[in-house]
């Protein structure tokens, strides 16, 4: 009944369930910083571009609802909504979902629900844009698709991520990508967002010390 407890984001698909301390040792290895990929300005530009792409692709934002995946996806969704409101003058509804109960690795490892699912509008007939910080194996996105289905039947579901780091294990791709980032499986991509994490906004690659 008990699974080994992971110390950090060392398991594929674990990117939404890791601790908030970026310096924490992961899975018994010490992780160290390999590269800073984005700084705060880069991240701001990526948000702005993705927001524009969402509006362009959907011919406006009238039917769009942004649904963030806990924890950082929710913060990203709010930033995208603010950007869309700034240049388009439309207040896009923002929701939050927790995919913990829909994961396919329940019982295989420790899973902690992150917060209550809150979607302020009926998704039926709308365009749902799922928002997360990192796309990795695709298993979190798959769980999110299942979770969304239980809330209603959207006209379309799209996926927006700040980083696509590759290593997909399922036939899933993102519609909007901030940065394609080739990584090794053992590495860890850490997105830092003000309001969720300490320090400045940024994206970093961390890896186990050899």
């Amino acid at each position: 009944m008990t699974a080994p407890i992971a110390g950090g984001g060392d398991l594929p698909g674990d990117d939404d369930n890791r601790g908030t301390n970026p310096a924490a040792p992961s899975g018994g290895h010490l992780f160290s910083l390999r590269a800073k990929v984005f700084d705060a300005d880069d991240l701001r530009r990526a948000h702005t571009r993705i927001a524009h792409e969402i509006v362009e692709r959907n011919h406006g934002a009238a039917d769009v609802v942004l649904i963030g995946l806990y924890t950082r996806g929710v913060a990203v969704a709010h930033r995208l909504a603010e950007a869309i409101e700034r240049f388009e003058g439309v207040a896009v509804p923002v929701g939050a979902i927790d995919v913990a109960f829909y994961r396919d690795d329940i019982g295989l490892r420790r899973i902690q629900p992150l917060g209550p699912t809150e979607v302020p509008v009926d998704v039926a007939g709308r365009v749902v844009v799922l928002v997360d910080d990192v796309l990795f194996t695709g298993r979190t996105a798959r769980a999110a698709l299942e979770a969304i289905t239980e809330l209603g039947r959207p006209r379309a579901v799209q996926l927006a991520v700040l980083v696509d780091r590759g290593h997909r294990e399922l036939p899933i791709r993102a519609d909007y990508v901030g940065k394609n980032l080739p990584t090794k499986v053992a590495e860890d991509v850490r997105v830092r967002l003000q309001g969720v994490d300490d320090g400045d906004d940024g994206i970093e690659i961390w890896g186990p010390e050899s």
Binding site: M1, T2, A3, I5, D98, A100, F101, Y102, I106, G107, L108, R109, R110, I111, Q112, P113, G115, P116, T117, E118, E146, E150, L151, G152
Partner: protein, 308 residues
């Protein structure tokens, strides 16, 4: 946490984590399709040696909303009448492949004994006069959601009625005290514990004395089987001294909350208009019971580790 047998298993932090988790499940129970696949392939059996339709249904509903399979065993319709021992019954059920056993038994400690026999998780759904931990958890959840605050510190809680024979009171006192509330048990001396040793609470025998100070009035069900004995001579006398009548309710502070674990004896421990009035959160208690039991089952079977 392998089992949930007593509020003592949790501590203040464990209680807080389970309540946070329960908030997620409250949202699930309010959906159009209140079902999630979290415990697909798990089997939960309810093993009830004492009648309690509402608690059994609440656990079964919780398991079903998590997509677990459920089985139910009641002593009345079982081989117990043919002389099968508790050990044999439990081993037989476990051999069918169950992941959790929800146990109600008239003997205090029966769930603890069962937990020592089997690998499946055991949840105490009420054992004798001892404990009923999920009731205490759902009470805290309901109160927390009404108050809109995570803090119970300094909250004045009065638990009124047959405290001596009540497992609801025992778990409730422990849970309220663990989260920092200030608990007073109120009732006639014959229905209060002989000694308060081990109870983190004060005792009072005059309800009218303490009533105006209380933030929460928690009424216990008067068990009619005690009626007529030396412990409880008459219902009318009980109601006149300890019932929450409309006249007494009028003396409560404006934001005081009224709770009851059910089933209610309207007109005995609580007046109908108080039970249905704005101060009452009795209906919410029932609804939240399912969410709390979902949280407990998820913690034991799905989370892959202890809560927190």
């Amino acid at each position: 946490m392998n089992d949930l047998l007593s509020i003592d298993d949790l501590g203040a932090a464990g209680i807080g984590d389970l309540l946070d988790l329960s908030d997620s499940f409250v949202e699930v129970t309010q959906r159009d399709i209140p079902k999630i696949p979290a415990l697909r392939g798990k089997t939960v059996v309810t093993l009830f040696y004492e009648d309690s339709t509402r608690t059994r249904l609440s656990f079964e509903t919780a398991a079903k909303r998590l997509t677990a399979d459920t089985m139910s065993f009641t002593a009345a319709s079982s081989a117990v009448g043919k002389g099968e021992s508790l050990l044999d019954t439990v081993r037989t059920i476990e051999a069918m492949g169950v992941d959790a056993m929800v146990v109600r038994h008239r003997c205090a400690g029966a769930p603890h004994r069962i937990a020592s026999w089997i690998d499946a998780a055991v949840v105490n759904a009420g054992d004798g006069r001892h404990e009923h931990p999920t009731q205490a958890l759902l009470d805290l959840l309901t109160l927390r959601r009404r108050l809109g605050s995570d803090s119970f510190r300094g909250l004045r809680v009065g638990i009124v009625g047959d405290v001596r024979h009540s497992r609801v009171a025992r778990s409730g006192v422990k849970a309220f005290a663990a989260v920092g509330a200030d608990v007073t048990v109120v009732g006639p001396p014959t229905l209060l514990p002989e000694s308060l040793e081990g109870w983190p609470a004060r005792a009072a025998t005059d309800l009218d004395d303490v009533l105006p100070e209380l933030d929460v009035v928690y009424l216990l069900r008067i068990q009619r089987e005690r009626l007529g004995s030396a412990l409880l001579p008459s219902l009318r006398e009980y109601t006149s001294r300890y019932g929450l009548t409309a006249a007494r309710a009028a003396r409560l502070k404006p934001d005081t909350v009224v709770m009851h674990p059910g089933p209610m004896n309207r007109g005995v421990e609580i007046a109908a208009e108080v039970a249905d009035g704005p101060a009452s959160i009795i209906t919410e208690q029932v609804a939240n019971g399912v969410a709390v039991r979902m949280a407990v089952l998820w913690s034991l079977l799905g989370s892959g580790g202890p809560v927190a």
